[in-house]
Amino acid sequence: MLQNVFDDLRLYGHFLELQVRSQFQYKLNLLADIGAYLLMTGLEFVALLLYFIPFPSLLDWKVGEVLLLCSLTYTSFGLADVFGEGIDHFSLIIRQGSFDRFLLRPNSVFLQVLGSEFTLRKFGRVTQGILVFCLALVLLPRSLWTLDKVLVLFLGVLSTATIFLALFLIGAVICFWTVETTELINMVTHGGREMMQYPLTIYNDLLQRFFTFIVPIAFGAYFPTCYILGRPLPFGFPAFVAFLSPICAVVFAFLSSLLWRIGIRHYQGTGS
């Protein structure tokens, strides 16, 4: 069992190495790609910062506090985006019929999908998340940080990244039936990322509940941020709940992996 996991990881590492090497063949292209991507995500963030010139605060949240939330969301979405790009492009694999090939190979199908695409430019969002975090550190008081808060931050990033990955997977599962990725799942993934840049309480109640109890992104990103800032958690949750984000992420990931298995059993090929 353990040997299997080890073998799988080595294979995955090999997949990634191949992808990276092929990107280094086109150095100029890679540089342009990274530059464009950084500027693209950077400009979105600059727009967010600019709002705080005419306005002093966002529903009592100061810039530094919003930036902390942003950095958590950016970093975790970025991580999910880096490692889950293969899942995100799953519709292409289905449409081209390459999925049949994956099924024939004596390796984990999930792993092959995961390793089928890996682009370096996607690290841009992670880099951006870290830079925004540094900015938040400067703006927030130093005394804020204690050991438990550092811990809750790490748990939050890992959990939110896991939840985003699981969401990508659900989007891929839908492809088994629709072939195309529907724009609606993008609304939940990219919409969730966009939404979680700002405190949950600004949104309407239905949206708040949806992104807490059904798609628990708020659980992963917003709850830990509230804990760090000493703000009350939404829906009257006691403060320690912020530490439970990993449990939430694991449950959500487990449910999406169940769906994935059902999807594979359902798959009949696109038959072109």
Binding site: Y26, N29, A32, D33, G35, A36, Y37, L39, M40, L43, E44, V46, A47, L50, Y51, I53, P54, F55, P56, S57, L58, L59, D60, T182, E183, L184, N186, M187, G191, E194, M195, Y198, P199, I202, Y203, N204, L207
Partner: protein, 264 residues
Amino acid sequence: MFPFYFHVALASFRRQLAYRWANIAGLITNTFFGSLFSFVIIALHHARQSVDGYTVTDTLRYTWLAQALLMVVMPFAWYDLMNTIRTGEVVSDLSKPCDFCWYWFSRELGRSLYYTLFRGVPIYIAGTLLFNLGFPAGSLQLLIFVLAFLLAIVLGIAYRYLYNIIAFWIVEARAMVWLAVTVALFFAGSYIPLYFLPGWLYGLAQVLPFNGLMNFPIQVLLGKVSPAQMGWAFVSLLCWSVGMILVMRFLTARATRRVIVQGG
């Protein structure tokens, strides 16, 4: 020759009609994002009622109008022309007995009309229902808005065409396209209403052609533009359109003189 271009536009309009479900999904997505931005704007205004004479309602209207215009003037992943260059299909378009620029222009006019009717209008209605926007303008303002909007469509098509024909020189130009679109969206006012920008940046935004894509038509409809400013903006945007179309024709002529077709 004119009936030919009219039919090209009509065909492209009809082609869009086939993607009914994609359009509905897009409508839901645009409405969702419009709602997110609206909640942010409402929350920001908790601390300050109005900025430079713009109230919450103004900014909400601005946001929804920008969402409504988005797919008309600046469709995000528009690689249509670029893809024909990459695959070599462009040869068949070039050998058609018509002007290559005007052929694409008509195609995109048809598409723009489709998105105006089936994306733009429904989005603004959705926003009105969700956030009680009302309709900002009187009939004169509406008339001027229509003129500004037509200019926005022309500018949008010319810009799109320009960043697509890069593909004649650079085969893998996707990074350039993202950059071109992001910068345009920022300076059009899609990320943040331009009047929230610091003075010098606002000044810069107003002389760029992207002002005409969203900010200018929207501000006209909101009734925030004085007649003098309006005249100046129309002159400058007309110059931009003519200039961009000239560059478009010049580059096309250069590219087609030495075209080496990709693919087989």
